[in-house]
Amino acid sequence: MRHLQIFFIATVVGICAAVTASAADIKVIANPAVGASSVSADELKGVFLATKTSLSDGSHVEPVLEKGGPVHEAFVKEYLGKTDAALQTYYRSLVFTGKASMPKTLAADAEVVAYVAKTRGAIGYVSAASSTAGVKTLDVK
């Protein structure tokens, strides 16, 4: 009976792991012009909530988001502590109050990588499996 319970729990956890991505499956990428090679979780949150426009080393950054998807969901939840809907509301309130514009939103990891690679100061996130050609991967501390 006890073995059955353990098996059941393990199965559920496994399914969940299969459909959702975790922090370990996400890597933060940046345009190579960005000087820093690592970024703190707070800095990352600030950049993506439009409260920061530069990193601690002074390099200008501009966030790039994905439009939905498990990687986006996982990033928003893990690093920003919000749901996608809350994030959209948040951005709209920023736009309404004139404090910021809506961030650049792209559909897939490949588009994100391509945009980041060509846009100076761009910072985004992709799945860990994605190719990171032309961009630099930042360590999140």
């Binding site: 509301t89 709209r92 309130s93 736009v95 809506m102």
Partner: protein, 475 residues
């Protein structure tokens, strides 16, 4: 001020007090009217303006929130509510602008702000409606940013307007409060000044016109009482001394009177004795005069005796011559008898006898002569002595005359003295009665002095009471 009497001074101070009260009341009335006018202006203009601007600000915030909700939550109904709130804002600001009595700048600012917000409201409705209908494009984001900026500006302007109106209101109320406080303190100052002035006048009046003179009078009366006490003490002592002295004097006078009576009696006796002595001296003078007559008679007798003695000496010479002749005759007879012889013998014896007798007679005559000579010389001496005695009697008579005169003078002096002593006695009696009166007077004086001392003590008690009433610390 100095010429006014106490009542006038007190009424003057009360008048000053009343005048100050009237002035302070009138001033407070005037200032109260000003304050009421200012308060009316505040309540009719500034207060509603501040209230309306505050309401407009609240409506503006609701409007902004409504637009935010519409955009953020994608809620189209919120847009209409926000538009209504915006209309309220505009209406409120227009109401503020139309309030009479506001400063012109404030009215213009409110009117301008109303127009600006009205325009912004129209733009916002269009832009946010487009956003709700078509989503966030780049253009709409720019419009929203611009709107946000205008919203911020309008919000700031609204807040400024509200703050200014609130500040105006606060300023006005503060001015009112200050004016009221000023009025209050001015009234208080006037009251205090009046109180101080009236108090000073009362104090000075009391001090100069009541306390000062009373203090001076008290001082003078105290000094006088001290002097009177000293004087009465001295008087009592002097009275006692005078009384004692007068009593002693009376005793002395009584003694003197007794002595005077004795002296008077003695003087009378002396006068009597002097009269007696005068009489005796008169008698002695008569006796001495008789003795002088007797002495004259004696001298005459002595002269007669001297003459008789000389006559006796002549007789004796005759006897001697007779004896001598007898002897010669005897001798002749003897011779004759011798011659007559025996017949003459008897005769010769007789002749002898006769011769012897003649001898004896001669001798007796010689002896008698010497005796008569001695007698004559003794008589001469006696005459001389009688003359001396007579002269002495003359001197005695003269001396007795002088003595009589002196004794007469003594007698008359004694009489005078007796009269004088009688007068002195009368005077002494008078003095005694006066002394007795003096004694009683001195006793009365001493009693009066002690009574005066007790009166002075009473005076001092009353003075102490007066000092306590005046509130002085008697040193």
């Amino acid at each position: 001020m100095r010429r006014l009497n106490i009542t006038a001074k007190i009424w003057l101070s009360v008048g000053v007090f009343i005048l100050g009260y009237v002035i302070s009341t009138a001033l407070s009335q005037i200032q109260g009217a000003e304050a009421r006018a200012s308060l009316r202006a505040t309540s009719e203009a500034l207060f509603p303006a501040a209230q309306r601007s505050q309401e407009a600000e609240a409506a503006f915030q609701r409007m902004v929130k409504g637009f935010g909700d519409a955009v953020v939550m994608q809620d189209a109904s919120a847009l209409d509510r926000a538009a209504e709130d915006g209309q309220q804002v505009v209406a409120g600001l227009r109401a503020v602008a139309s309030i009479a009595g506001l400063p012109a700048g404030r009215s213009q600012a409110a009117g301008g702000l109303a127009a600006s917000i009205e325009r912004m409201l129209a733009d916002a409705r269009t832009s946010y409606g487009a956003v709700l209908a078509g989503g966030l494009s780049g253009t709409s984001q720019d419009q929203m940013r611009a709107l946000a900026a205008r919203t911020d500006e309008a919000k700031a302007a609204l807040a400024r307007t509200k703050e200014q109106l609130a500040a105006d209101l606060h300023l006005q109320l503060s001015a009112l409060g200050e004016s009221s406080a000023r009025q209050e303190s001015f009234g208080l100052a006037v009251f205090a000044a009046t109180l101080i002035l009236a108090g000073a006048i009362v104090h000075l009046t009391i001090r100069r016109s009541i306390t000062g003179p009373v203090v001076r009078v008290i001082g003078g009366v105290q000094e006088a009482a001290d002097g009177a006490a000293r004087a009465s003490a001295q008087l009592a002592q002097s009275g006692m001394e005078v009384s004692n002295n007068a009593q002693e004097q009376a005793a002395c006078i009584q003694g003197t009177s007794a002595s005077l009576e004795e002296i008077s009696a003695t003087t009378q006796q002396n006068a009597d004795r002097a009269k007696e002595a005068d009489r005796l001296m008169q008698a002695a003078r008569q006796t001495v005069e008789r003795a002088a007559h007797a002495m004259n008679d004696l001298r005459a007798s002595m002269d007669l005796i001297s003459k008789s003695s000389h006559q006796v000496a002549g007789v004796l010479k005759d006897i001697d011559e007779i004896a001598f002749h007898t002897n010669i005759l005897a001798l002749n007879a003897a011779v004759e008898a011798a011659r007559a012889g025996q017949a003459g013998a008897g005769f010769s014896v007789v002749a002898d006898e006769v011769r012897s007798l003649a001898h004896r007679a001669a001798e007796a005559a010689r002896n008698s002569g010497s005796i008569i000579e001695r007698t004559a010389s003794d008589v001469s001496k006696g005459v001389e002595l009688v003359a001396h005695a007579h002269a002495a009697f003359q001197e005695v008579s003269t001396t007795i005359s002088s003595g009589t005169q002196v004794v007469s003078q003594i007698a008359s002096s004694s009489n005078e003295q007796a009269k004088g002593i009688a007068n002195v006695g009368q005077a002494i009696v008078r003095i005694e009665s006066l002394t007795q009166r003096n004694v009683s007077n001195a006793q009365q004086t001493a009693e009066g002095a002690s009574e005066m001392t007790s009166e002075v003590e009473n005076t001092r008690k009353y003075l102490d009471e007066l000092v306590a009433v005046v509130g002085l610390r008697n040193a």
